[in-house]
Amino acid sequence: MSEEHEEHHTNYVKIWAILVVLLAISVAGPELEILWITLITAFGIAFVKAYIVVQKFMHLGDAPKFVTYVMVTCLVFMMLFIAGTASDIYKSNGENWYKIESEWQYMPPVAQHDEGHGAADEESH
């Protein structure tokens, strides 16, 4: 750790101040109600903040390289998960199938009454 000693003298308060400013921007930005500004300020800044915390507070850079690779791999697998599932979960229709509107229930009126008790119970919780 001795050679990294320099780095640990980082002015953490300054970094914190930067984070707070970024927070303010990310709250203020979406108030403009312009889509791309919302996206950039809300989510772009979240990534910037996360990067700052990971690098400056968690000192990911000081750990051996493989630690970073592991973290990135985890994120990549999550991307992979979204890539593999979006066609079913995000999309409401696809090749030869479509999702029924939530209200739609192919259920006869009387039977719906029977079945409805369970559902009604759940709604009232």
């Binding site: 006869p108 009387v110 039977a111 029977d114």
Partner: protein, 223 residues
């Protein structure tokens, strides 16, 4: 369709020896008396109708404890043969129809019926609201001719008892009869008759009223 394949023929000899061995175990399944058999088979029924026959509305299973043996027997046979519970709108019936097919022989059916009828009667909690028993009493006069003034049922009229029944089940049955979801199959003559009778109840409120009245009979019968 399935052709006999050679591996079977080869293995058959080996099999026979092994089967004989396993059959030693199998021999132990002597059919005990009806009641024990009925209890054994009721294990599946208990999944929905619960251990004491109280039924569970969540599973669309009415109370069955202490129902008349002839009625349980007849209804199980009806379900099994598909003359009850196979209307495409009858959600509860479509769940019961396959379950009844689990009872392969008529002996099993009567064993379960005997077991169910011997169970102590229970009073399932009342869940239907908004019925007026006073109006219901007047409406019930017609029902009483078959189901009896106390709702005790009459075997001679093929009318099951109505007391100690889940009230939600009575409501849904009447609604099903009215809508032709039950009693649509001409082979099920009693149900067809009941379908006709159910039309004497003009609307949903009348159904609730009459069921509310039947529920009071339930209480009266309590000592």
């Amino acid at each position: 369709m399935t052709r006999q394949f050679s591996i079977i023929r080869v293995s058959r000899g080996v099999l026979l020896a092994c089967v004989a061995w396993v059959a030693l175990f199998a021999a132990s399944q002597a059919s005990a008396n009806d009641m024990a058999r009925g209890k054994q088979l009721y294990a599946l029924c208990a999944q929905c109708h619960t251990e004491n026959g109280m039924g569970a509305q969540l599973y669309l299973a009415p109370a069955i404890a202490g129902l008349d043996e002839w009625y349980v027997n007849a209804q199980l046979l009806n379900f099994r043969s598909g003359i009850r519970g196979t209307n495409w709108q009858d959600v509860g019936g479509l769940r019961m129809h396959p379950m009844s097919r689990w009872l392969k022989s008529d002996e099993d059916v009567s064993a379960v019926a005997a077991y169910v009828s011997a169970m102590p009667k229970v009073d399932p909690p009342a869940v239907v609201e908004g019925g007026d028993p006073v109006t219901g009493k007047a409406l019930y006069a017609t029902c009483a001719s078959c189901h009896g003034p106390e709702g005790q049922g009459m075997k001679t009229m093929n009318a099951p008892p109505l007391v100690h029944m889940s009230d939600w089940y009575l409501v849904s049955s009447l609604e099903k009869f009215k809508a032709g979801i039950r009693g649509w199959n001409p082979q099920n003559t009693n149900a067809v008759m009941m379908r006709g009778m159910s039309n004497l109840l003009p609307n949903e409120q009348a159904i609730k009223d009459v069921v509310a009245y039947i529920t009071t009979l339930n209480v009266q019968e309590q000592p």
